[in-house]
Chain length 248, copies 2
């Protein structure tokens, strides 16, 4: 929609393998991002391998802007992030993807255009590109082991964009054709079990009977029971009684 903030453009600088360009497109589109730009892909453009790997996200490749230099690719951007795994000896803010996408979101809401640079697979961005950025994004990986590839870096950045932007439903319970049992239903379930268990001689010895009944009631009421659960539990008890009555 036209009222939505402009999404950040993800800019792949000198990507090498077509497969990785396709994988980056898929990673972006998983999280609803579709503005891809390419700076001088090694194997030319368009690229069959990229198309093959992008499958359902092929539209991003069709619409991708193609540029000769990083400077041209970011010419219309108001704010640029550069992703990099290691310190570069440059004085520049370094942000986590979380902080960076929080910032990007605020900028976009103000009508600013944001770009995110991703370097080639082997070596990452060169300092010549990084000096053009306003800030660095560095994923907080294990200091003993940092091995994120291009697609993973794109994925995590896109994920952070969506995590913070999407309407977050923190926790839902998938209800399979049922709803939560009401208090009366749970009470009747408790009655059913208690009555049958009294007949069965469960509450023994007498001195402990009251406490045992309370524990059982307390358990049912503490459970997040659905109506379907209540029906199953009634069915379990009824079947046990039927089994007894059959006497087989």
């Amino acid at each position: 929609m036209s009222t939505d903030p402009i999404q950040p453009a993800f800019i792949l600088v000198n990507p090498q393998m077509g497969e990785n360009i396709g994988a980056a497109a898929r990673a972006m589109w998983n999280f609803g991002l579709d503005r891809m730009r390419l700076v001088a892909p090694r194997d030319g453009w368009p690229n069959e391998r990229a198309v093959a790997l992008a499958s359902g996200a092929g539209r991003l490749l069709d619409d991708a802007g193609l540029y000769d230099t990083t400077a041209q690719a970011i010419a219309d951007c108001d704010y640029v992030f550069a992703t990099t795994a290691r310190a570069r000896g440059l004085t520049k803010p370094v942000m986590t993807p979380e902080r960076a996408m929080d910032h990007a979101r605020a900028l976009s809401a103000e009508g600013k255009r944001v770009g995110v640079l991703f370097g080639p697979e082997r070596a990452g961005l060169e300092n010549d590109d990084i000096v053009r950025a306003n800030a660095i994004i560095s994923v907080p990986v294990n200091p003993e082991f940092a091995s994120l590839n291009l697609g993973q870096c794109v994925l995590l950045t896109a994920y952070e964009w969506r995590r913070q932007t999407a309407q977050i439903v923190p926790e839902v319970v998938e209800m399979a054709k049922t709803e939560w049992a009401g208090h009366v239903e749970v009470e009747k379930l408790g009655d059913h079990y208690e009555d049958r268990l009294v007949e069965a001689g469960f509450f023994f010895p007498e001195t402990k009977a009251e406490g045992m009944k309370q524990n059982l009631r307390n358990m049912w009421s503490r459970m997040p029971l659905t109506r379907a659960d209540v029906q199953i539990l009634h069915g379990v008890m009824r079947q046990m009684v039927r089994w007894k009555e059959r006497g087989d």
Copy 2:
């Protein structure tokens, strides 16, 4: 360090390609997670392709636990998440990776053991595995395009574990002289009920038997059962059988 909370175990159920097992190990170790478990990998174990792909994270494969069944792999877990992309028709809490790893941290801080199940590449987890989990993790992807693969799902979950460094104040439940039941206890409770109800002829008609069994398993694993609850529920079933056998 011994004072650190126990990290969640990432459990790959029936992984197919060795390459993907290696990639999962790398994804985990990027975010400092190293407790991997494998349930019946398709191509056997150890797997050369997995080792080749894991490179610097090979130690995770050397240390990985190997299990025949999902039930065995989660036997020592106090709380289990199942990752899945689509609704399964099961009544079960569904959480984002963010919410889930927040919860996992709180549980770990209490000394609880957490497991996260990941399904095979093509089809994902089967309902038979999901019913054993306490909650579902679903990555909030673009509803028009969801194409996360196994490695990406592992990566995002591991990332969320590490991202959340905030001090978590665990939710406090007053525990009356008891503690939460472990997975083995709940599994055995499920076995006990299933076995007796088979004898009692509960799972009828035959065509519905499998679905009924899954519903019952799913119910037990969804309940916040204490050890005392489990004992009561065993006692209930034993008593019903005794009653039948007395034939009075």
